[in-house]
Amino acid sequence: MPKPPPGVAERDFQAALRDLEGVVGREWLFATDEDVLLYRDGYSPLWGEAEERFPSAAVAPNSVEQVQGVVKIANQYGLPLYPISTGRNLTYGGAAPAYSGSVVVDLKRMNRILDVSARDKTCLVEPGVSYFDLYRHLRTNKIPLWIDTADPGWGGLMGNALDRGGGYTDIEFRDHFDAHCGMEVVLPTGEVVRTGMGASPQAKTGQLFKYGLGPWIDGIFSQSNFGIVTKMGFWLMQEPEAALQVSVTVPKRRDVVPLVDTLHSLMCAHTVPSQVTVASPVMAGNNPELVRLRGSGGVSDADWDRFAASAGGAPFWAATFVYYGPSKVIAAQWEHTKERLSGIAGVGFRETASYTFPLSDEQVEAVADKARYGIPSLNLFSSRSAPGAPPLEGHIDFSPMIPPHGEELIALTDYTGKVYADQGFTPSFVAGMMFHPRTMICFHAVPTFRNAADNGRTRKLFETLVRGCADRGWPIYRIHPVFQKLGMEMFGFNNGALHRLHETLKDAIDPNGIVSPGRYDIWPKRLRGSQA
């Protein structure tokens, strides 16, 4: 049997489990070793080590009232809880708790789509609703709205938004937390609050206006441990008349500077509506010379350009993005984009896909870049199925955020490539992903393993990257629980004033310290200083 949470006596733990069973029923309380293993982080960088994070049990309520019941019991016995929604936040911890011994509150059974308004282009969902669920609902009912899905699309709207994930469509929707409108939260005391206009009981604008009256409080429930969110509204994208996916290429390494500057300007002018990925056809690949260059750090532009020429002359950079809207407008946007970029010598323009909507099922199946059209899929994993590709046991994401400047992208890849190489890892090439209007995220998939020795190397690499990038002005935007303490250290202005504020709020909102202790290094008073 799993051990009780730290500080909870076995007898009290057993009593608490009986009470939890009384709330959710025997079928939905999980307290055997076998059950608890289902909540293990399959990509844990601590796999099999004493510090690996395990829950003591899991409980799966099916209603707000049951969530309240669970919270009440947790307060009574001092049980640490760890709510998850769909539990698919892999690479950022999966379903495993930040604090070992927590009881996972698995909200997957709360998977109801409570409302979709085709007229207002909004939805209201419970935590367990997945991207696939809502997508299928819209397709089945022929509702001309799009979701904005994460990629891979196996997670859900609420969890991804609360951890501040993102997607690929129009700017209004692809910052998932920004696209939410109104939430319902069970506070650690058991009280239920609704935010925004939803706090006005008869309001007809709960999913239409975010702020309500008074301070806008929603933000404190993201990446936090201040409550269990049980409903969230989201704005959905109106299905456009058409879409055009394009690729803009530039020949030389330093061309990325005007390329990104111009695309950023076009994005801010709402001429380029979608997420933009700036990748390098030259730097991607596994030939030994290329890998050596990626890991060298500081290879000159001239040397990179010579390598590109010797390797077949592929354009050094390719930017991929999509226009959505009426065909005539798209044509004008594309023409304007080409005019703006025409000053880069050797620039190339290519239309890679065009669609008019709605798509038939067969057309949906044929879409290559599904997330850009709000279609959830797991196709991302196809990259792991290439012939000869080594089986990957898992990875965690290192996700620094940089300004939308080409020279920063070059500097980042120079730096992280060398860190990888110096520590014996194959330096991966990293693209600049313009999810947000004024930054780029540069994901690095750091491999994890099923043995302590290799994971020790991984953890050292990860810590070096976190610290080194923060020192260079590129802190991360999101991080795996094993590294959340380290991550928050990077946000230590004024001797950790922000962290102290988080914990001041924690003490006020969660006086018994029961919800997600340790998540993003926010600890309740009773556990503060007790962990490494």
Binding site: D35, A60, R136, P376, L378, N379, S382, R384, P391
Partner: protein, 131 residues
């Protein structure tokens, strides 16, 4: 968000919604209309298993490796000595199906009982082991 930005560029196909298979309606029993708490009890175990497969497995394991990373992975692993698509396998046993659902393998994370309930797992095993 996309975590393999370059590799994602080669991804193609869609597997979740439209498997062309007689026992799989395009969008069977979407989760929005139910909760896992009220287990599906409609149809035979095999019919219910088909719905579970479509809901939870087909995005990776439908027919056609170009559309399904799990199928592509099994093609690489077995090199055609057994069919790559799980629906075409005739050597699966209920215990084997249940093992991989609950334990995962490589990139595949386990599915919890709140995702695929024990009753749904029995049905899925029945579906994938029908002869």
């Amino acid at each position: 968000m996309n975590r393999f930005p370059l590799l994602a560029l080669v991804a193609a196909g869609f597997a979740a919604s439209t498997a062309a298979f007689a026992q799989e309606p395009p969008f069977p029993i979407a989760a929005w209309s139910r909760t896992t708490a009220s287990a599906e009890d409609r149809g035979t175990p095999v019919e219910r298993g088909a719905a579970v497969f479509n809901n939870w497995c087909s995005a990776c394991h439908s027919r056609g490796p170009q559309n399904a990373p799990g199928t592509a992975s099994l093609q690489n692993k077995y090199q055609g000595s057994v069919p790559a698509a799980l629906q075409d396998r005739r050597d699966l046993t209920p215990d084997l199906v249940k093992f991989f659902v609950r334990n995962g393998v490589a990139m595949m994370a386990p599915l919890r009982k709140t995702e695929v309930s024990e009753a749904d797992l029995d049905a899925l095993a029945a579906y994938l082991t029908q002869r």
